[in-house]
């Protein structure tokens, strides 16, 4: 009994030393997952409490971040995501449009003399905004890879998907992120719109699709 109490106490100390320092990182991730500060706080609270209950399952020497992110992702998917009103995420059509507009690598090539302007005028809060606009799976992959430097294998474990899926998602997600930032850059006159597809063309395309849809409904 004494031994057990002692080990409980040890566990507690270990948890404080190993898991608790990740609270800020978990909160940062929770903000990107929920896009809502109150929900993000709740999510972190629930994640760390569950981690505490299952502390005996954490394998010392493995990546604590990956373990905690996995718990947090599980809770998020099962609890929050269901009742969350998905706000302002790019839908499939917008994604296709974006990828289509910036499909050719030339269209996302920044001439070296525009790079400074791009960094100064586009790379700031816009990056987070662009990330928040991505669909959940893409957002999570970028978050784990580029915000938290997890390996593909660790990401696969967090998101419970094959490593190949991580790779293809990351590829598409980074492309989308880039395309989104290039849109900002075009809007702000840092670079010119990729040839052939101007903002006007896209507007026309939208109008055309709306007309078609109306016709189909009549």
């Amino acid at each position: 009994m004494i031994g057990r109490l002692f080990s409980k106490k040890q566990d507690h100390v270990e948890f404080e030393q190993v898991a608790m320092p990740q609270a800020d990182a978990l909160y940062g991730a929770a903000l990107r997952m929920t896009r809502n500060p109150t929900q993000a706080e709740d999510l972190v609270q629930e994640t760390l409490m569950r981690a505490y209950r299952f502390w005996h399952r954490f394998e010392q020497g493995t990546n604590i971040k990956a373990w905690l992110f996995r718990i947090q992702t599980n809770i998020f998917i099962n609890r929050y995501r269901k009742r969350q009103t998905e706000q302002q995420v790019l839908d499939d059509r917008q994604i296709d449009d974006l990828l289509h507009r910036f499909a050719a690598e030339e269209s996302t090539f920044l001439p070296p003399d525009t790079r400074d302007a791009f960094l100064k005028r586009v790379v700031g809060d816009e990056v987070m905004q662009a990330l928040d606009d991505l669909p959940f799976e893409f957002r999570m992959t970028v978050l784990l890879a580029d915000m938290h430097d997890l390996s593909y294998k660790e990401i696969a474990e967090v998101l419970d998907c094959p490593v190949g899926t991580v790779m293809s998602r990351l590829h598409r997600a980074r492309k989308l992120l880039q395309a989104r930032l290039f849109e900002y850059a075009v809007e702000r006159g840092v670079i010119e719109a990729p040839e052939g597809v101007t903002a006007d063309n896209v507007a026309e395309l939208d109008a055309f699709r709306r007309r078609k849809k109306r016709a189909a409904n009549e």
């Binding site: 909160y27 209950r53 399952r57 599980n74 996302t108 920044l110 990056v127 593909y152 990351l170």
Partner: protein, 263 residues
């Protein structure tokens, strides 16, 4: 001579940039990069993009002080000895609602309209048999520890959040069949109560198995294969080397929700 072409290079540029390749793969890409100006330009652009964007993504965020204080308070509460033990003792009264009457014998009846899957049959049989638990405890950690030197695998009992599901305890068991034949393998048998109903879980080493039969469904993050037999649902899923066979007479949706939320 380089073994990859420009399409490969572009397609796999992310793992290359992220240092995910082994030395040999990396060497192929290095070679192509040295030989191909177009890919060099593309690579340089992508590397520059990631270098520029990452600092913006990695700006630190702080958990607000109020939230941190709440978290620390919850941890102090959690540190106190659990009251759960008392609850467990109360729950150890055999579950009358499970009225063995209607169920007995069903497990050994031929399950009509059900493709014989020995493991599934066995799971239902054990579910219906209403074996007593050898080690009563509501604590997943305690049950895991109890199984530690009794089963030849690293036991991880599924834990269900919230208070819908209560762990009653575990017993040592075996599970029969598998595609290979009638051989049996050691298994951990767990019993839970879900409201008035019972749910049993058999956990065993299935690193040599591929779960394929049954209806493939998603439960949260998990890929689950569900067998429906005479009012029972048996949901099989794999977690690392372990296979979990969850049996109950809950509606399928409820069962999948529970499995989805489980850890």
């Amino acid at each position: 001579m380089s073994r990859i072409d420009c399409d490969d290079f572009k397609k796999f540029i992310d793992p290359y940039l992220d240092g995910e390749f082994d030395d040999r793969e990396r060497a192929d890409f290095d070679t192509h990069l040295a030989e191909c100006a177009a890919c060099r330009r593309h690579y340089e652009q992508q590397a520059w993009f990631l270098r520029s964007v990452r600092p913006a993504l990695q700006r630190p965020t702080r958990l607000p002080p109020g939230a941190r204080a709440r978290l620390e308070a919850s941890l102090r509460v959690a540190q106190r000895p659990a009251r759960a033990r008392r609850l467990a003792r109360r729950l150890m009264i055999p579950l009358p609602a499970l009225a063995v009457a209607g169920v007995v014998g069903l497990g050994v009846m031929p399950l009509t309209g059900f493709k014989p899957a020995p493991m599934v049959d066995d799971a239902i049989e054990q579910h219906c048999a209403d074996f007593p638990v050898e080690f009563p405890s509501p604590e997943v950690a305690e049950v895991d520890t109890w199984f530690q030197d009794k089963v030849p695998f690293h036991m991880q009992a599924p834990a269900f959040p919230g208070d819908k599901v209560t762990l009653l305890g575990g017993r040592l068991s075996r599970i029969g069949g598998g595609e290979a034949g009638p051989s049996t393998r050691p298994a951990a048998y767990l019993m839970y109560s879900v409201g008035e109903r019972k749910m049993t879980v058999l956990v065993f080493d299935g690193s040599d198995l591929k779960i394929a039969n049954g209806e493939a469904l998603r439960a949260g993050n998990k890929q689950v294969h569900v067998h429906d037999a005479n009012g029972y649902q048996v949901a099989l899923y794999q977690r690392g080397p372990l296979v979990y066979a969850v049996t109950s007479d809950l509606p399928q949706r409820d069962l999948l929700n529970l499995i989805g939320e489980s850890l």
